[in-house]
Symmetry: C2
């Protein structure tokens, strides 16, 4: 059980109380789902209490009642005048009171120091409100546990992968000379929510990436009002999301006839991707997978400066990557069945780019792709 694993890790690190500020960890441990994390929101796990305590802004209470398994006493709130207060009211003081109620005045308290939702101000407020407590860095404590997915989670990731496939298909169908870039992007976002005929998709942890022409040379562009010309390259990165589990997938679409040189470049990129995927198996390290990919690419004189991949699973904005292992040189994380990665084998060079990627889950014997879009350049 998730909570038991977290408590075990807390105990082994000597942490009495864990203050979780990251929204994916709220969802993972309580089921909570609501777009409310832009105001202070915390899940507090104590070794001495069975259920975690969820605490957020007062108006969010109904969302917690509807989406979590928590009993009434585990759902707490702070008043609305603590939101963006100009008179120094801090929601973290209210949370510190909960810590005191849990007997944590002198406890060892774990916090997610490097998380997206644990500001320097939040930490300063806690230090002031709990001067006798000992604060330790517990960033990624839950994330490392999340890294290995259960069969039920992998089943949801497969659904997310099917949505990502549907999005790439829709993008390929929609992109054509004379069409505005925004029309293609709009179609992608439409498909993202519509999902498949069987189930819908959820909102993105980031945003569809769309870069045509020169803008395909950058990794994180979005669309413009421009009309697509007869001949161009389009870089797409789409995100299928189901029940907050996200699967990323990128492809380069070529409108018009690619040059022989470019086709060769794309072949090299795909070959390296396939070599990297073939290297995936339990017991191997992330670094070893990267080495296989880099060696294949290097044979042709190319190098990828950004990491080859990142783990994905449950996520919220601003990003779905789990911030733990990376498919890169020197990362000695050992692969285990149930780990899910996006092998982000995109190449952005000064004069050209090629983005053909593959999300996958590590299996008992190798890997299983989470999407079925062909690993090739999409030429139209």
């Amino acid at each position: 059980m998730r909570l038991a694993a977290v408590k075990e890790e807390m105990a082994s690190r000597g942490i009495d109380i864990l203050l979780l500020s990251e929204p994916p960890n709220h969802n993972y441990l309580t089921g909570y789902d609501g777009y409310s994390f832009y105001t202070p929101q915390m899940v507090i796990v104590s070794l001495k209490r069975e259920e975690p305590i969820w605490i957020a802004r007062a108006v969010e209470r109904p969302q917690a009642v509807m989406s979590t398994y928590l009993s009434d006493d585990s759902i707490r709130t702070y008043p609305d005048d603590y939101v963006n207060s100009l008179v120094g009211l801090s929601a973290y003081d209210v949370m510190a009171d909960v810590v005191k109620e849990l007997g944590g005045e002198k406890a060892t308290i774990g916090v997610e120091l490097g998380g997206y939702y644990y500001s320097a101000q939040a930490h300063a407020d806690f230090l002031k409100a709990l001067p006798q407590a000992k604060f330790v860095n517990a960033d990624l404590l839950v994330n490392w546990i999340r890294l290995v997915k259960s069969p039920a989670e992998v089943a949801v990731m497969r659904q997310s992968g099917r949505i990502a496939d549907a999005m790439i298909n829709r993008g390929f169908e929609t992109a054509a000379p004379g069409v505005r870039e925004c029309e293609v992007a709009a179609a992608l976002c439409h498909q993202q929510i519509l999902g498949t005929p069987e189930y819908s998709g959820a909102y993105d942890c980031a945003v569809v990436m769309f870069g045509a022409g020169e803008r395909a040379l950058a990794p994180h562009p979005t669309w413009t009002d421009d009309v697509l010309p007869d001949s161009t390259m389009i870089y797409l990165e789409v995100h299928g999301v189901r029940h907050r589990y996200q699967v990323n997938l990128a492809r380069t679409i070529v409108l018009g006839k690619p040059t022989p040189e470019y086709l060769k470049f794309a072949d090299i990129a795909v070959e390296a991707l396939n070599v990297g995927l073939d290297a995936v198996r339990p017991g191997r390290t992330c670094s070893e997978v990267h080495a296989a990919y880099a060696q294949s690419l290097g044979r042709h004189g190319y190098e990828k400066i950004s990491r080859l991949g990142y783990p994905q699973g449950v996520g919220y904005p601003p990003a779905s990557a789990e911030r733990t292992a990376s498919l890169r040189k020197g990362d000695n994380t050992v692969l285990k069945p149930g780990m899910c990665f996006h092998m982000m084998a995109a190449l952005w060079l000064e004069d050209k780019s090629c983005c053909i990627t593959q999300p996958f889950v590590v299996t008992e014997t190798g890997h299983e792709p989470l999407t079925s879009t062909p690993r090739e350049l999409l030429v139209k």
Copy 2:
């Protein structure tokens, strides 16, 4: 000029160097636009240097070249192995080196302590790397300057407002008995990107809020796979975004025939909203506007527990509200022409909700609505 105003405020507070971690402030001061802020990204303003320095991950460089006005020496990067490093590499150390290059080793340095993108870890890394510097809280320094929009910015906000109108229209057209909730949400997101026939929309700082039936009682729900019944209530909050400027708008759509009691409740909500809007004029305080609204609502025995409104403008995920002034009791911020707010006059009660809101800009004599959707219950 924006940068001059920021430097003037820095000087008046005795700040030599300003470390800006918030993406809207990067856009505001350099033009930078890219979905890259989920890895460390900073804009550094020094009183002794004309241009700000933008610094982010190496792969983001082309995006900075394409979207900012900065000269080459003002665009800096850190290597990719600083992203989610497991061996203790910190991008903030590289940023601290830039501060040293600017002669800031013993400077007074302003940081956005309470921002979304300034983690406790970031602050700890800076304190360690610059032990002789004096760090002061400059959170919201730029945001307060952003609060008053120029005529050019207001013109973009009007475009965003038109996109928000188009989204509500599309939602009203699409919502019907037998339609899946996700189909309505997908149509809204499609319209959000498609924008209007004249111009496209950009991605959201948050996500379309969609709650039908019981879920309309919470402020931040999203869609499900459920089919809409013959008779229900749907709460929609949409966000029109143009050139990163966001305008929010919410409406309640009723499928079927509302009860006379509910129609009366909606009338009360609209009346209070209109009273609040009529109270807007330069020289009045946020608190005075709130008082007018609250008095109107209170005459009928109702009270709104969350703040009445928040300022909006340039934004990035996870939220567009500027975190400065609020339309609430006790906020003595004086309204000035060019300030833009979303009067979020939604009422979420235990047994019913009504969400009819109005984004507006403060004018010389009162207010101008930024959207034209009628302020009424949308019954279908």
